[in-house]
Symmetry: C2
Subunit: 129 residues, 2 copies
């Protein structure tokens, strides 16, 4: 979805060189690689990053369950990794994904379905059929 | 950039109803409303959210400087707010913006200019001229 120019010689990627918070986590934004829609934000630790890159299946760390969360493992709403990006400060990730079905647990395509307009919350989309 | 269907009666937005981390902050993803490009991720507190909505100029909380950060105030690379979104868990924000110039302090359009491909870090774009 974006023109790509390779500007430098590649260096080996080491997840330990990223900046994690005090819980060892880094935010990961998932973006639909076709529509460009921002689907969700969740957290990864170094091992989840390794699993994501190794398997091509986006894998987060669930803070509530304190376990790996292979996106779509139970729902079938998998995220196939298309590209893995790091920000300038190395403290945030962007994963471009091929999303099956809904990214949101409410069965909406994206988690960001509520807008604030004229001071009021407005729902932008219904759950998928 | 996305079809919008209003599904419910609007309710008044109150920033205190969002979920903040232990430092009183919530992550905010900035997306270019024209290209759909994810530009950056930074943090807001409740007051930064109020300022953003009141002024239409995206305002973060700088963790390093511990002060408000009106994006572009010194660089001129302002972010004009186009739409303000909340995720399902109310613990992450998405701001659609009209971005002047580079969003990244390295003078690149986006902070996410590094990709990991075949185990190597690869720069995708050069600083803007």
């Amino acid at each position: 979805m974006q023109k790509v120019f390779v500007m430098s010689h590649p260096v080996a990627f080491d997840p330990s060189t990223l900046k994690y918070n005090e819980a060892g986590l880094i935010p990961a934004i998932a973006q639909d690689e076709v529509s460009g829609e921002v689907l969700m934000m969740a957290w990864m630790n170094a091992q989840a990053i390794e699993k994501t890159l190794e398997t091509g299946r986006v894998t987060y760390w669930s803070r509530s369950r304190q376990s790996f969360w292979i996106k779509g493992e139970t729902s079938g709403h998998v995220q196939e990794l298309v590209d893995f990006r790091i920000d300038c400060d190395r403290d945030c990730l962007l994963v471009l994904v091929r999303q099956t079905g809904a990214a949101c647990h409410t069965n909406r395509r994206t988690c960001f379905y509520t807008a604030v307009r004229d001071g009021a919350e407005t729902e932008l989309m219904a759950p998928m059929a």
